[in-house]
Symmetry: C2
Subunit: 305 residues, 2 copies
């Protein structure tokens, strides 16, 4: 019983890259597993190494794709910080259950011992939203959203849009990466970064700058011990998890890079994938939801063969 | 900067039970922290020990409130299983990132060595939904839902309703507890239980029996190492986390019980709390969402003074 309880629910994700007989010929609509098996190389893309960060933890590497179309100044600044090795030997300071993991300089508020910044900027104006860019293909979801007039995907990221105000913005789904800030809206800049590890905190949308998404290694953040201090901060310095380094992938020797492909979100295949998740035709399901919300749509990532 | 980045966002939850000056006199609408500080004893309830489970892990106790109004047969069976010590020395077998933690009998599929059941039942018909009971006060959310015609809270649990079909059902929010099942809809029964540890998997609603919610100790499940096998199963027996025991709280000596109070969801105060989360008036916020989705509404729990 137990080994099969959820086997059909999420088999598709596990099967990416595995041999799996495509089964799109049957009358039943394809599952996500079927679709991925039948996918063509052109349905996938390789993230730009110039737009990819490697966060090196003692447990291994976390890979972040940067959202340069949505937070160009923050992305540029985070890369500048990485390139001057600002993040090296900083630490995960906070893990709040069902909310965020956050890292930065434990001494940030002590002027004498705070880590110095050479060329990058310490703070930037917020990039909480931007004008709608029609050149960014928007794959809109059909089922609406509790928070925004329109939601969907653009450039591989979860996005909301408001045509009336001509604004679009990144959405706080699981795995999204943002730049922590203080009360002033221009007090962030990327020296502290957080990653969503629970139910989508949509109340943060348009309040803080999102700048990327974890595309591999998420479990190394989500399984960290929760901090027992207020807001999930670690109470003792010894509990903090060291950030060994953060590098722009383009600066890492090619042989040491992590080869990954991300499913494109601007293709007919991705539209079919959305449909396969709105109505689940795997045998296990008794009831089909007929709907899907933005943060429930998976964006598959695979290791090339 | 970093210590305050999120301090206002979620201070309220951390401040429950702490001294905190109420600030409801100002012209600004109250925050959740204000409301909880101003709450009366009658805004809180003590979960029924006969309807509460203690899951004893090596790391400590996880407390589950059972949803007897929604899954009466499963709740009765889980209590019967606990009372015959069925769960003792079973194990967490599976931790799938952004999805579920699941425990049960590692030998469940081996007839010779599977743990025997004395008086409880191994399987039950699914209790995936039920008829709407007008006597269960329903605190409806004003902002709709992607999946269901109506959502809100009843008896302290997140609930969806469809007046047309006269059905109501529990919703897969973070911390909800369900009975794993095989492909057959009547193959569950509570011998294996799962807990949601990520983005609400709403596609499971009405497909599997939810029977309770974790009200304390959630982090002991959510921070477990993710399994590296298919579907997050642990690949080696040595990785499994032992379930020392599961007991009905009423069977535990009073001095060994965990004293908890849960905020009632059928009060004017809870309505105000919902409003305080739809529009966040804490100083940090630049933009107020004006909406909230079901699984984003906190149900505060506190330790009585």
């Amino acid at each position: 019983m137990l080994y099969r309880s959820f086997s059909i629910l999420s088999a598709a994700l596990m099967l990416i890259g595995n041999a799996f007989a495509a089964d799109v010929s049957k009358s039943k609509p394809p599952t996500m597993a079927d679709l991925l098996t039948a996918s063509k190389p052109s349905d996938w893309r390789v993230p730009d190494p110039e737009n990819t960060l490697y966060v090196e933890l003692p447990s291994g590497r976390v890979v972040i794709e940067l959202a340069s179309n949505f937070a160009p100044a923050h992305v540029a600044n985070v890369k500048a910080l990485a390139r001057e090795h600002y993040y090296d030997d900083l630490a995960v300071l906070r893990v709040q259950d069902n909310y965020v993991v956050q890292w930065g300089d434990p001494d940030a508020e002590k002027p004498a011992s705070a880590k110095k910044i050479q060329n990058a900027k310490r703070t930037l104006p917020g990039e909480f939203d931007r004008s709608i860019d029609p050149s960014l293909t928007f794959t809109r979801l059909p089922d609406g959203d509790v928070y925004a007039p329109e939601v969907g995907f653009a450039k591989g990221f979860p996005v909301a849009r408001d045509p009336k105000s001509n604004k679009m913005w990144l959405v706080h789904c699981y795995g999204m990466v943002g730049a922590g800030r203080d009360t002033a809206p221009d007090s962030g800049g990327g020296t502290e970064l957080y990653v969503v590890i629970g139910q989508a905190p949509r109340h943060l949308d348009r309040n803080v700058t999102l700048l990327g998404r974890v595309i591999q290694g998420m479990e190394q953040l989500s399984e960290l011990p929760r901090g027992t201090g207020g807001l999930g901060f670690y109470e003792k310095a010894s509990q903090r998890v060291p950030i060994k380094s953060i590098r722009v992938a383009a600066d890492v020797p090619a042989a040491e890079r992590t080869a990954l492909e991300v499913l494109r979100t601007d293709t007919p295949l991705f539209q079919d994938l959305i449909e396969s998740r709105r109505n689940r035709h795997e045998e296990w399901f008794q009831y089909q939801a007929g709907h899907i919300e933005l943060c429930a749509v998976p964006i598959p990532v695979r290791t090339p063969k």
